[in-house]
Subunit: 184 residues, 2 copies
DNA sequence: AAAATATCGAACATCGTGTTCGATATCATG
DNA sequence: CATGATATCGAACACGATGTTCGATATTTT
């Protein structure tokens, strides 16, 4: 591949990484990016069709290059029989995320869906108050709170995405079953 | 309040509800809304500063008018001592959501943050494969899968939002503790 | 050295936003 | 019902971002 292309591509990626420290992705303009990257306007559009495609490709590269080694057991470094434990693997993922926290935090801090979810969470905080009080556990309360609320929100999003096929009671029953044993 | 204001406001809300059946919120233009509502451009802006404020207010009204009765025990209809069970209350919430599924599905189906989360979920599906195989339970596999992945994604989002204060190991430990007991 | 190709950057058309203002229609009130 | 208040209308405008085009220039490949 032509060195100029690589140079431009890196300049764009670096610019985006830099800009994400200051602004949310959806607030960035193409002008911001090409100014920061110091490239011509038409050059940007010869590499990416839109700003969103840039994000798409950046995410793809992150997962291909940064996280790709977490799942596959590394030959020669693994003495447990070629199969890493789930705890260890998840730990690695979290470490990688913390190494790239500028980028990922900015990307994960999006808007749009958030407006509704924000109200929903606020509402659920009250609904879950008593559930949180009645258990003894070594897991801190704020963590349990986050967990219970977050997983319920995700359950509801999944329920909607799959076309509301389960009855509400069924969803609640399954959900409480999975939550129930977890408070030890 | 002046009848004209109420009329306009309802026209806007109805228009938004109608349009959300066809398009995602972030793809709607103010022009779309005022055309559907059949009002003048300046009229829209005399009611709402931006499109986002419209969504904000609509969400607020939904939670105030639709969900407000789920938490407070209704006097005269509750024979269990003035305190509804969590299952019953959550069921009510889900019912209300299903009654408003057009609006809520459209609002919850946002973009932005999703790009990253989509890759993240795909990645986690592989990582969680073995966890899902080794348990006997009456909760369907696709539900458990959604639950485990969704709650982990939410945990990570929370971890990032609170400034990565916990060590990765700690996060994983807490998370697995809460998940562990739930697979019965 | 020559041919191929990537970048530059200015100019342009297009679209959505949010504002302004005078004319018109509707309302609340006495 | 008459009148002052106020909400709506709708055209016009300035602004900013998007994505395209094209000839000139610079760099790379062979």
């Amino acid at each position: 591949m032509d060195r100029r292309q690589q140079k431009t591509r890196n300049a764009i990626y670096d610019a985006l990484t830099e800009l994400l420290k200051k602004k949310k992705f959806e607030d960035l303009t193409v002008q911001d990016i090409i100014d920061e990257a110091n490239i011509g306007r038409s050059t940007f559009y010869s590499h990416f069709e839109t700003k969103d495609q840039l994000l798409e490709e950046m995410c793809r590269e992150m997962f291909e290059h940064v996280f790709s080694h977490d799942l596959a057991p590394e030959a020669g470094h693994d003495f447990s029989g070629g199969h890493k434990g789930i705890a260890e693997r998840l730990t690695h993922v979290l470490y990688h995320i913390s190494e790239h926290k500028e980028n990922i935090s900015a990307i994960l801090g999006g808007e749009s869906e958030q407006t509704f979810v924000r109200f929903f969470r606020e509402y659920l905080e009250d609904a879950f108050d008593d559930v949180l009080g009645h258990v003894n556990t070594k897991v801190p309360k704020d963590f349990r709170k986050q967990f219970i609320i977050g997983s319920f929100v995700e359950t509801v999003k999944w329920w909607i995405a799959t076309g509301l096929k389960l009855a509400p009671e069924q969803v609640v029953e399954y959900y409480l079953t999975l939550i129930g044993g977890g408070s030890k």
